[in-house]
């Protein structure tokens, strides 16, 4: 454990930085593992149960390893009105996984978020932070194929 999360002090050590610490872990590891929970608990001097409490409260934190390409499909109001339910269904059908899951080859994972701030170009999704806008059936397939081809 000691070596693995040695960067934690970068987030500070006061309890107020607990969320920041967890965000740091997630940005480095991609998710927050059980080992990470133990390390964070020890570092901030906060019981593990409380760390879990904070983790489960915030939608941002992942407890399982996400795919190489993390797809955030927007289900904010604008995207919902413009058909994000269907986009999510197509995505699930194309990749064979649902919300919060990762494909077996570890390439893609899907999470649903509420608004990427690009509502004027709805419906949108982000892949590793890059926003793809005005999605439809065809562009969705094309985008997925582009990412698949890179591997």
């Amino acid at each position: 454990m000691s070596g693995a999360f040695s960067y934690l002090p970068e987030a500070g050590s006061d309890k107020g930085s607990l969320i920041k610490g967890l965000q740091l872990v997630q940005s480095r590891e991609g998710y927050v593992s059980d080992d990470a929970v133990r390390a964070v608990s020890a570092h901030f001097g906060v019981p593990e149960a409380e760390v879990e409490g904070v983790l489960t409260f915030y939608a941002q934190f992942k407890r399982t390893k996400p795919g190489k390409y993390q797809i955030s499909i927007c289900d904010g109001t604008a995207c919902h009105i413009k058909g994000s339910t269907q986009i999510a269904a197509w995505l699930a059908a194309e990749l064979g996984i649902g919300n919060g899951q990762t494909t077996e080859d570890g390439l893609f994972s899907i999470e649903t978020v509420a608004c990427l701030g690009c509502c004027s170009l709805a419906p949108c999704m982000a892949v590793n932070g890059k926003v793809h806008a005005k999605l439809d059936r065809k562009s969705l397939t094309r985008i997925l194929n582009e990412y698949k081809k890179m591997n």
């Binding site: 509420a114 701030g117 949108c124």
Partner: protein, 582 residues
């Protein structure tokens, strides 16, 4: 003829999503000695990617929907007439550009450029006055908070200023939780210095010593620009105030995806590192906030109003808008409109002016507009002559909220819209108080039942009664406003509810359980693209008939059909193999 002094490419999130990255690269390749700058968003997101050619005679030429190719870049560099973008005359008349004056016009992270355009003049004027005078000026302006509740900003500041303690906190609420609102994102990305200058003026007026910005993590570019801007201010000594022993602490905290954290007491808990649950008020944050210190919270747009307000003066500010709603408001227009994007209008314009004249929606095609997000309501088109301000929208059962304005076309189902919002609030309820936790869950379940075609007429009364109780009984604003989307749609669109529960009909053909999918054989060319695309094998390859017992209503076939022969029809109008066998 004038020549080009500089090329500006809009690379805010909306621009990038529309392809501004490639446009920028094309100009970097082709522009030669002409400087190429990245700027934020001018609000006309529907026209992205947007390029501005700044001329040496002081004028500018705008281009819209620019392609990321060398030819496109070269054409613009020779000031082609093609693709020029002119803001429609009527829109110009209706808008009042006050807060967004610099948004999309300057390099967001260039301090010198911000200053050259009047930046930090507001702070300069503020510190030439006493803090009490600044508070009075903000009071006189009539500025009310732009984050939702509309509390008078000057008054809030006076509460904080009255606290005689050495350490006080001022928080900028940049959580922008309303899914469908994006003006705060745009302001932070486009003019981060303006938001920070507003906070510095606030710190001067109230004696605040620590400045926090709580920004949602979904806005990486906003966070990046704010971080650069803070570092630039530090370098230039602009984080210091006269008479203060030390520079101010300015810290960005990233939210972690919880809507309730936009509520001020929840935000304070989150900033303290714990679960973001709200608490009962009083004590108000100005009495006991972050770690017990007096704390005041204002929204991004509220802070962005402060510098121009200080430059122009409170009296000028108060001359804009209505009796009880002073100044301008930025609205985020999205949904079924031609011109989605941001628009800054004086309070008091009508919904019709915003939706039809600025948004470009055709009268007759729009059913309602949703304002205020999950806390707000749906206003029907026959009320669009309403002048927009805090009180008028409240009287209609909606709220102005942070300024999200979602236009809902005739082809959308209002019951499904209400269900969507309740699913959101139900999920986001922190679970602390029973009314919100259980109430939103029951309301959501009931709406789920109705859209699934399993509702009964008494469900509508149940929603109204329970909604009223949740409104009154919930601990914080989330629960108190959560019933609004359901209550306002029942109020104005009861017919749709009745059609769902009595006849099991969704006129808009949106509720999957109440529709069938059908191929029009007269137009079908038997290309069988639909057969190949259908994920559940519901379409017969010989007859090209959709079996609605198998169909998952995913619309894939409808989207791929080259002849547009497939559509949703009312339930019962399509083929069901189970019926055929009988």
């Amino acid at each position: 003829m004038a020549s080009i002094k500089r090329i500006k490419v809009g690379t805010a999130s909306c621009g990038l999503a529309a392809g501004a990255g490639a446009v920028l690269e094309a100009f970097r390749r082709c522009a030669g000695s002409v400087p190429v700058a990245e700027v934020g968003c001018i609000g006309h997101c529907y026209a992205e990617p947007i390029v501005e050619a700044e001329l040496d005679n002081g004028e500018s030429v705008f281009y819209c929907r620019v392609k990321g190719t060398d030819e496109a870049a070269k054409a613009i560099l020779s000031l082609t007439d093609e693709g020029r973008f002119i803001i429609p005359e009527r829109r110009r008349e209706l808008e009042h550009i006050f807060v967004t004056r610099l948004a999309g016009r300057i390099n967001p992270v260039d301090l010198a450029e911000y200053k050259a355009n009047g930046g930090f003049k507001g702070l300069e004027r503020a510190i030439s006055m006493t803090p009490a005078q600044v508070v009075d000026e903000v009071k006189a302006s009539g500025l009310r908070g732009r984050g939702g509740a509309g509390f008078p900003t000057g008054m809030k500041w006076s509460f904080l200023a009255a606290k005689q303690v050495p350490d006080k906190v001022m928080i900028c609420n940049a959580d922008e939780g309303d899914p469908g609102a994006f003006m705060d994102r745009s302001m932070m990305e486009s003019v981060p210095f303006q938001v920070l200058e507003g906070m510095m003026i606030g710190a001067w007026a109230t004696g605040a010593t620590r400045l926090f910005i709580y920004c949602r993590a979904e806005y990486p570019l906003a966070i990046k620009h704010l971080k650069i801007a803070i570092a630039e201010m530090k370098k230039a000594g602009l984080d210091k105030l006269p008479g203060r022993p030390a520079p101010l602490e300015i810290v960005i905290k990233e939210g972690a995806g919880a809507f309730v954290c936009g509520e001020e007491t929840a935000m304070i808990h989150s900033l303290e590192g714990g679960r973001g649950t709200p608490r009962f008020r009083p004590p108000f944050p100005t009495d006991s906030g972050w770690n017990g210190l007096p704390t005041s919270i204002n929204n991004v747009e509220t802070f962005a109003n402060i510098p121009p307000l200080m430059v122009e003066g409170g009296e000028h500010f108060a001359s804009i808008g209505t009796e009880k709603g002073k100044g301008t408001k930025i609205f985020a227009l999205a949904g079924d409109v031609e011109n989605p994007g941001l628009t800054e209008v004086p309070l008091g314009v009508t919904l019709a002016e915003v939706v039809y004249e600025i948004g470009g929606a055709k009268p007759g095609t729009v059913k309602a507009v949703q304002t205020g997000g999950p806390s707000g309501g749906c206003i029907p088109a026959d009320k669009f002559d309403t002048k927009i301000d805090y009180d008028s929208l409240k009287a209609l059962g909606a709220i102005m909220g942070s300024g999200g304005l979602i236009v809902i076309g005739n082809h959308r189902c209002m019951v499904e819209t209400a269900r969507y919002f309740l699913s959101f609030t139900q999920r986001e309820s922190c679970g602390k108080c029973t009314f919100c936790r259980v109430g939103t869950t029951r309301m959501h379940e009931t709406l789920e039942r109705i859209v699934a075609g399993k509702g009964v007429e008494s469900d509508i009364d149940f929603l109204e009664q329970l909604g009223d109780k949740v409104r009154k009984g919930a601990l914080c604003g989330l629960g108190q406003t959560a019933p609004n989307p359901a209550l306002s749609t029942i109020r104005y669109f009861r017919n749709e509810y009745l059609a769902h529960v009595r006849d099991h009909v969704c006129e808009a053909k949106q509720c999957a359980a109440l529709v069938d999918v059908k191929v029009d054989p007269s137009k079908c060319i038997k290309c069988r693209l639909c057969v190949r695309t259908c994920p559940v094998g519901a379409i017969d390859p010989e007859t090209i008939v959709v079996d609605n017992d198998k169909c998952s209503k995913c619309n894939s076939c409808i989207e791929v059909c080259p002849k547009k022969t497939i559509s949703r029809v009312l339930r019962g109008e399509g083929y069901h193999s189970s019926n055929a066998q009988k």
